[in-house]
């Protein structure tokens, strides 16, 4: 394996009396799809926010592409595509304005790919973001996360915004394409079926601690299914995809 894309070491984060992350250590090498699994409030988004540099490590360290994302946000963020769980795209922008604005930040922005994604996602360039449905907003967010062909794609709970068709037909294909091109995908989810479909490697997090981190094949060998592994390590059943 080559040098790690993400290297988190002994990361602890507290919000008041709550320990959101407790001595978390993870290392993600290049060119694979990593599923970060955990119940709501387990610490998935907190870990992702540290990786993006939105939270400063209180103790321990976070390195992305070998760099500190807080000290060097430009070098790190220009190589990451990020789809936020919050879906906070500016409502006043039109879709074409969002694409034009976002493209300015990424030297590797691919206009042809952006147009292809816009057509695939059926996004009207003249439509205002605030007039889009929740699913369409998530598609627009995914478009700007993908169109600069990032070295690392971070998807925070993509299932919470994307509609089932995009999740089933498009997201999986996109994720596989990125991984096949040697790039890396980190996506968090509480839907085990979804993770099982696309992930090469699964990291389970519970109450701020990493309880299991292993290749999916190895997990399936030791347990009958990902769900069984989750129950064994976390102690409660995760949400089936159909309920999400």
């Amino acid at each position: 394996m080559s040098e790690s894309v993400i290297s988190v070491s002994e990361l602890t984060r507290r919000f008041g009396a709550t320990t959101a992350l407790d001595s978390v250590s993870v290392s993600l090498p290049h060119g694979a799809v990593y599923g970060l699994v955990g119940a709501n409030g387990a610490g998935k988004t907190t870990l992702i926010r540290h990786i993006l540099g939105l939270l400063r490590a209180e103790s321990g360290s976070v390195r992305v592409f070998g760099l500190d994302p807080v000290a060097d946000p430009v070098a790190v963020l220009s190589r990451i595509g990020y789809l936020s769980e919050e879906n906070d795209l500016p409502g006043w922008m039109r879709v074409d304005e969002l694409i034009r604005y976002t493209s300015a930040f990424y030297p590797k922005w691919d206009d042809a790919y952006a147009e292809e994604l816009q057509r695939a996602f059926a996004l009207d360039p003249a439509a205002k973001i605030k007039d889009l449905s929740r699913g369409q907003k998530a598609r627009a967010g995914l478009l700007i996360a993908l169109a600069h062909r990032p070295e690392l794609l971070v998807l925070d709970e993509p299932s919470s915004g994307l509609d089932p068709i995009v999740r089933r037909d498009i997201l999986g294909a996109v994720i596989r394409t990125i991984a096949d091109e040697g790039r890396t995908v980190l996506f968090s989810s509480h839907l085990l079926d979804e993770v099982e479909q696309v992930a090469d490697h699964v990291t389970m997090i519970s109450h701020g601690r990493i309880v299991l981190s292993a290749p999916l094949d190895a997990i399936k060998e030791s347990h009958r299914s990902l769900n069984e592994a989750f129950i064994a390590h976390v102690g409660s059943a995760a949400t089936p995809a159909a309920e999400a």
Partner: protein, 543 residues
């Protein structure tokens, strides 16, 4: 809590408890002044400044606050097409009459109580007859109409504001005309009393439509035009990330100040038509128009320094902005650039509208006459410098107002933002009495004048210490490179020297020492607060 009336009332009380407690505290304080401090029957000689500080300003502020509270103005989007009535309440198992009636009843009652309490408890100047009933009715009517007009769904974004301003101004005009023609209290009551039931009917219609999801859409034509424009005009890429971010800031905040100035200016300059025969009044109107941009900038600055105005109660930087591959200093630079363009746009409006209004109103000659006097008194170069300096001063003050609170708002810490607002309000409340005390006390004036160099030197020391600390932090946190820091410092020094040069040339008198002018120039050119903005943003962005 078994009734919808109690539940709706509880929501207002719970959500705005601190504001309502402050209003009650204010009324209690003015009542204490009247009944515990003043002797019964003692004539009250209150000057306009004291009256404004104790009654007019707090009363107007409370009135506006209650308007916002009871029309759900703190949570709604004034510019949106859909109703400002909270959609979450549409699913409550209550009738439209209850949804409209209870907030309107609570609001109108609060307005009436506010006036009656102020009328009965506050200290009013002796010898002036203050009406009791109709102002309470006017306040209630204004609230009821505000509720009706803001809860109405509209076909186009932004129409709500225009309709509300026009309707409320029409109601005000009727009242002003009635006052002009010396209408008595019964007639005023007859005019105002039907307003609340009328507004209730309109509000009920509005909420019923909004509840059914009937939001008219007149954007078809504009939408098609926009769509065609998008298809035919492919915009080029931004030349740099910095330009893209400046465009983003301009689109988000840039037009707010010019729009506010553009809304107020016609009303202010229209007064010139009434001032043809009163030259002094002409200059008061012009001064009013000139202070409008910096004054309105102080209000606009609140949204500029709010990282995430779309999300209520959120002071943090939204992930969409926080994950832009830009440094915090570059994000601030875009805000500063936007503020500059916004300032220039607002002043362009003023500088175009003012001569036109003077010319069309026939008051241009009053201004040229005064300019000729000034020219004769101090000479053309000095007269031109005075005018240009004043203009530059107003423009810089507008820009400064827009950006000087960035270092507070962008920290993302609620306690800092609210603490700063509290400190500012306290300072403003204390300022009037302190200024008056100084004006009334020649000994204090002498002491202050003698200590002026020391005071200025102390302020300069404070400013430079803060700037040095901020520069160290900017360097240590790698928010600004060495070259940028040196270039920024050099620009600041140049600006200080330029201002010092102008001041020395202008005040060429032995009565003003040059070192005083140097201290004033150092204090006048912004440095510490603007330099602190990237630190504040970085503290918020990387929590």
């Amino acid at each position: 809590m078994r009734s919808p009336a109690l539940a709706i009332g509880w929501e207002f009380r719970r959500r705005h408890r601190w504001g309502l407690i402050a209003v009650a505290g204010y009324l209690f304080a003015v009542a204490a002044i009247r009944f515990l401090i003043l002797e019964p029957g003692e004539p009250v000689l209150v000057d306009s400044v004291r009256f404004a500080a104790v009654v007019s300003v707090p009363l107007t502020t409370t009135f506006v606050y209650l308007l916002a509270v009871f029309s759900f103005g703190f949570s709604g989007d004034l510019a949106a097409r859909h109703s400002m009535y909270p959609a979450r309440m549409f699913t409550l198992p209550v009738t439209n009459a209850a949804l409209v009636g209870w907030p309107m009843l609570y609001g109108t009652a609060a307005m009436a109580i506010l006036w009656l309490a102020a009328r009965l408890f506050a200290v009013w100047p002796s010898g002036i007859e203050i009406p009791l009933i109709w102002p309470a009715l006017l306040a209630a009517a204004l609230l009821a109409w505000t509720q009706a007009l803001t809860w109405m769904p509209y076909g186009l974004p932004g129409i709500r504001l225009i309709v509300a301003v026009l309707c409320l101004a029409a109601l005000d005009t009727v009242v002003l005309l009635a006052i002009h023609f010396k209408a008595g209290e019964p007639r005023m009551v007859a005019i105002l009393a039907p307003q609340v039931p009328l507004a209730y009917l309109v509000a009920r219609f509005a909420v019923a439509r909004a509840r059914r999801g009937e939001v008219p859409d007149w954007r078809g034509v504009f939408g098609r035009l926009a769509s065609n424009a998008v298809r035919t005009r492919r915009r080029d890429h931004f030349p740099s990330p910095a330009r893209a971010q400046a465009w983003f800031e301009w689109r988000r905040h840039g037009l707010s100040l010019p729009a506010l100035v553009g809304l107020l200016l016609p009303f202010e300059l229209a007064l010139l038509w009434l001032a043809k025969d009163a030259p002094a009044f002409v200059f008061e109107i012009l001064f009013l128009a000139l202070i409008t941009p910096p004054f309105m900038a102080a209000f606009t600055a609140w949204t500029v320094s709010q990282p995430n105005p779309q999300v209520r109660d959120s002071y943090g930087v939204p992930p969409f902005i926080a994950t832009r591959p830009l440094t915090s200093a570059e994000l601030i630079a875009a805000k500063l650039k936007m503020a500059m363009w916004s300032t220039l746009a607002a002043w362009l409006l003023v500088l175009v509208a003012m001569p036109l209004a003077l010319e069309w109103s026939g008051t241009w000659s009053v201004v040229t006459e005064r300019a000729r006097h000034m020219n004769d008194a101090i000479g053309t170069p000095r007269a031109a410098t005075v005018v240009l300096l004043m203009l530059a001063g107003f423009i810089v003050a507008t820009w400064k107002q827009l950006v000087q609170s960035l270092h507070i708002g962008l920290t993302g810490r609620e306690w800092i933002v609210k603490g700063s607002v509290l400190l500012t309000l306290t300072f403003l409340i204390l300022l009037g009495p302190i200024v008056e005390w100084i004006i009334d006390s020649p000994s204090v004036q002498r002491a202050l004048w003698n200590a002026l160099p020391l005071i200025l030197a102390g302020l300069v020391g404070l400013k430079m210490s803060a700037a040095a600390w901020i520069a160290t932090r900017l360097d240590r946190n790698r928010l600004l490179g060495d070259r940028a820091l040196v270039a920024g410092a050099a620009c600041w020094v140049l600006a200080v020297f330029a201002l010092y040069g102008v001041l020395v040339w202008f005040f060429s008198t032995p009565f003003v020492a040059h070192y005083l002018l140097a201290l004033i120039a150092i204090l006048a050119v912004p440095l510490a607060r603007i330099s602190a903005a990237p630190l504040a943003l970085a503290w918020n962005r990387h929590r």
